[in-house]
Symmetry: C2
Subunit: 179 residues, 2 copies
DNA sequence: CAGGTCATGTAAAGCGTTACATGATTTT
DNA sequence: AAAATCATGTAACGCTTTACATGACCTG
């Protein structure tokens, strides 16, 4: 009945949160949900069209001067679809794809120094993410929406743990390189 | 130069770890790397063929009775490719796709009870994962390989944090429902 | 006037899952 | 004899990224 794709759900949510052009959706998404749900222009524009075909959004041309611009709004049917999704307590998508963990898993095929170097690269990557999330904190706490702050807390907890655990593993590997 | 796809790298690693049929690779992978890197039969068999075309693995037919079976082995060139990958300290793939966090992010479009219910579903899912990881621990610790245990420690840390943070958020949401 | 940002879109390719199809062997 | 496990594979479909293409507007 829903027919709503994962991407469609994000877009509907973004529209409900007042982001109303494809461009603006992408900007906001890159700032916020990118850490746990990324999408690209290649999906956004076709999906907006599909959602309009389904009557879940309406777009009207609203050029800024000579620059083309289509402003979208969520419809009542769209709101119902969004609420249905948010209310569905079935298990949702959970996918982790971490090449660093894969390398760690296969690290018996290489030497300890290389593995430590891999861990450091991974930790640096995650520290950068952590920094980005931390800079988001004031904005999320002071905003009128509670959701972004809730999800940010989860993101911060996960990323902090990864950084710390990498450090711990680095320590383990550099310590007992003796036996 | 590499041409090695992400899936190809996993399979090469699995072969190096002594898993030598498509079926056995899938079994082992479902037991271990599934938590941070999943692949399906639909990728394994075609990829084994591609790797053979590239000279990175060799397969020979080794039927058990009348049951067809192809046993693969990693070649010297395959070992080189594997080591190149493991030695490459560039940043690897990191992708998280978490619908629960997405729902949390958009939770201002629904009521608090629904959000708490979502958190509980998510936590239950992660608790199940945690249990599966914990049952893997003795095997990983006592095995001849160190890598699986290292990556398991990371997996346990991440999943534990998710479970705890969900609990904390549930507490936050059920407490200050008063103001 | 150059560089950055706003804004929209498409095409091709790659990646991956799901569902299906088949059949032998082993365990209960 | 049924059920589980071993074992291999394909086809269709869907999702996503990357790269490309275009052009207007704004700021220094």
């Amino acid at each position: 009945m829903t027919g709503l794709t994962p991407t469609g759900r994000v877009i509907l949510g973004m529209l409900a949160y007042g982001r109303n052009t494809g461009y603006e959706i992408k900007q906001y998404l890159d700032k916020t949900t990118r850490h746990f749900w990324a999408i690209s222009y290649g999906q956004i524009y076709p999906e907006l069209k599909r959602l309009e075909d389904q009557g879940l959004v309406v777009g009207r041309s609203d050029p800024a001067g000579a620059r083309a611009r289509t402003v979208f709004e969520i419809t009542d049917a769209g709101r119902v679809a969004l609420e249905n999704w948010l209310g569905d307590t079935g298990e949702g998508i959970w996918e982790l794809r971490c090449e660093a963990m894969l390398k760690l898993f296969f690290s018996d095929e290489t030497d300890t120094e290389t593995t430590v170097a891999q861990l450091r690269t991974f930790r640096t990557q995650q520290e950068r993410k952590l920094e980005a999330l931390r800079q988001l904190e004031p904005w999320a706490r002071e905003g009128s929406h509670r959701g972004p702050y809730l999800s940010l807390q989860l993101g911060l907890a996960i990323t902090t743990t990864i950084v710390n655990q990498c450090q711990e593993l680095e320590r383990q590997l550099t310590e007992d390189g003796s036996d």
